[in-house]
């Protein structure tokens, strides 16, 4: 091949890669511009705090944001300790080849692939009916917890496994207990992976609609307890755009708020990762 054909090939490859990357950005930009075009005029501070009126066509998102936050809080409060515990058990106390570990891992992979509507139906039957929680923020949060657990566990486990065995041996040679090694050395070192998994989990939970439809319900009043029904942001958007004629502008504005929240989550985790983690990293 002559030099000029190689150069041409390189140029074509570069162009293809750039256009693929730009294409991805363009889709996101288009989505944002479209949402902004429809909903930006509705956005204001009052929109974030006021209660919705006229089926959501007017008023704001106040109670909905509170319900969303409470649902996410329940979800994380339940799934974080459970996920962390399971991941530590899988990564630190079971060999990759052991049957029990394989069984748990396989079940998690299956769970991760289950459609969210199925989780919604399960949550409705188990949390709302069997446990008698009814349509409530608690039932919604617990259902979401079941859904994000597989993501949390796998990310945390991968994070822990990525820490080289040298560090475990090094700590053991100092006579440090397994618990101290995990708490003070391995978890901080695995934090980037953990954080990535948690952000993914929160994002997936915050973006979830189907699983909440049958569990936390539609009520758009300000919730007074975790046993009240509460409308999540995604349900609000769905309801406005599908069931409320003339609700499209508010739906777009709510969607903008949701996207902004997710972006905020990501940026916060990136900042956290770059500021705090290098000091605790075991990488050398």
């Amino acid at each position: 091949m002559s030099r000029s054909t190689v150069a041409l090939g390189e140029r074509v490859a570069t162009a293809v890669l750039w256009s693929a990357a730009l294409g991805v950005i363009a889709v996101f930009a288009w989505l944002l511009v479209d949402l902004a075009g429809q909903g930006l005029s509705r956005l204001s501070f009052e929109f974030l705090t006021a209660a919705p009126r006229n089926a959501g066509r007017q008023g704001g998102l106040g109670p909905i944001l509170v319900s969303t936050a409470l649902i996410l809080l329940v979800c994380m409060a339940v799934s974080l300790p459970l996920g962390l515990g399971t991941a530590i058990l899988l990564a630190e106390f079971t060999a990759p080849t052991q049957r029990f570990g394989r069984l748990v891992r396989r079940s998690l992979d299956v769970l991760a692939g289950v459609p969210s509507i199925v989780f919604g139906l399960f949550g409705n039957v188990f949390f709302c009916q069997v446990l008698g929680l009814g349509f409530s923020i608690l039932a919604g949060g617990l259902t979401l917890a079941c859904m994000v657990l597989p993501i949390l566990i796998r990310a945390t486990e991968e994070g822990l496994r990525a820490v080289s065995d040298e560090h475990r041996r090094n700590a053991a040679a100092l006579g440090l207990s397994r618990a101290a090694t995990i708490a003070h050395l391995l978890l901080p070192a695995a934090m980037p992976g953990l954080l990535a998994g948690w952000i993914l989990g929160v994002s997936r939970a915050a973006a979830e609609t189907a699983a909440l439809m049958f569990t936390s319900g539609y009520v758009d009043r300000m919730p007074e307890s975790l046993l009240d029904s509460g409308r999540a942001l995604t349900i609000h958007i769905y309801d406005l755009s599908m069931n409320v004629p003339g609700g499209n502008a508010t739906a777009a504005a709510s969607a903008l708020v949701l996207v902004a929240l997710l972006l905020l989550c990501n940026v916060a985790s990136a900042c956290f990762a770059s500021r705090w983690l290098p000091r605790r990293s075991l990488a050398r």
Binding site: R169, A173, L174, G175, S177
Partner: protein
């Protein structure tokens, strides 16, 4: 440099006071099997109190595995099986009921690659001490200073004890790792090629440091550097690969091994290597 006078069997025979008739740590018929292969087989090795015992031999003959079995670090390796006896001060330490955390405090270990804990210099020593239940801050501080002085690091780091340990040079890191172990008041030090990842100057410093610990600690050192073994060891154990697994082929006083080896393999190995 400390004298290379070989240890005699006991002080009564004119040997240095370090060598008592009974070894401080000894293995008897010790074998170590991984899931697919045997690292070493039937090793009976005495390691005398206060002496430096060098373990030499070609790569893959189970030297490091032997060292790691002595403080039960092999427990961390899945499907690793140890058979035979290991006695520390006369007590068997191979049983399931043995408190391995206490054992590892008594039998400290230093690796080829010095890995600091991801903390400050001070906390690298402070954290293990606290984990081992040294509650009083002043007691910990005293132990930290003594250990850093012992390894000759105190004057280099006393003004930046709270700086990250990762900022130290390779030789300083290795001495920090040794200090971290010494702070725990071990009886035995296991050193797995502690100098081979260091530059010649740092390697010399660490070697001198190890030689200076003779008499205070019972030391077993794995080394590929025969000249180093000749300089610092009182006893030498020669390992060789036979029938696919490591065997101890000769053990004795350093002078005897280097000048009148009884095994042909040892003679060839000693003769073929230059320091």
């Amino acid at each position: 440099m400390t004298s290379t006078q070989p240890c005699r069997p006991s002080p009564a025979d004119g040997g240095p006071p370090c060598c008592e008739p009974h070894p401080w740590i000894e293995t008897e018929g010790l074998s170590l099997h991984y899931s697919t292969r045997t690292a070493f087989r039937d090793v009976t090795l005495p390691i005398h109190k206060g002496c430096i015992t060098a373990i030499v031999g070609p790569s893959g003959c189970g030297k490091s595995s032997l060292l790691q079995s002595l403080n039960r670090l092999t427990d961390l390796i899945p499907e690793c099986r140890v058979t035979g006896r290991i006695r520390l001060d006369g007590q068997d330490v191979t049983g399931r009921e043995v408190d391995v955390i206490a054992l590892r405090r008594r039998v400290g270990m230093i690796f080829q690659k010095p890995i600091p804990l991801p903390f400050s210099i001070r906390k690298n020593l402070d954290f293990p001490l606290r984990q081992h239940g040294v509650r009083q801050a002043s007691a910990r501080q005293a132990k930290i200073e003594r250990a850093l002085r012992d390894v000759g690091l105190w004057n280099e780091v006393k003004d930046r004890l709270d700086a990250p340990a990762a900022g130290l040079s390779g030789g300083q890191l290795q001495r920090l790792c040794i200090a971290r172990t010494l702070a725990l008041d071990p009886e035995v030090l296991l050193l797995d090629e502690p100098c081979s990842a260091l530059d010649p100057l740092a390697s010399g410093t660490v070697e001198d440091l190890i030689a200076s610990l003779r008499g205070r600690y019972t030391i077993a050192i794995v080394t590929h550097n025969l000249a180093q073994a000749r300089r610092i060891a009182d006893h030498v154990a020669v390992f060789w690969v036979q029938e696919g697994c490591g065997r101890l082929i000769e053990f004795g006083a350093a002078a005897a091994i280097f000048h009148q080896p009884t095994q042909e393999l040892t003679a060839a190995y000693i003769g073929g290597m230059r320091g």
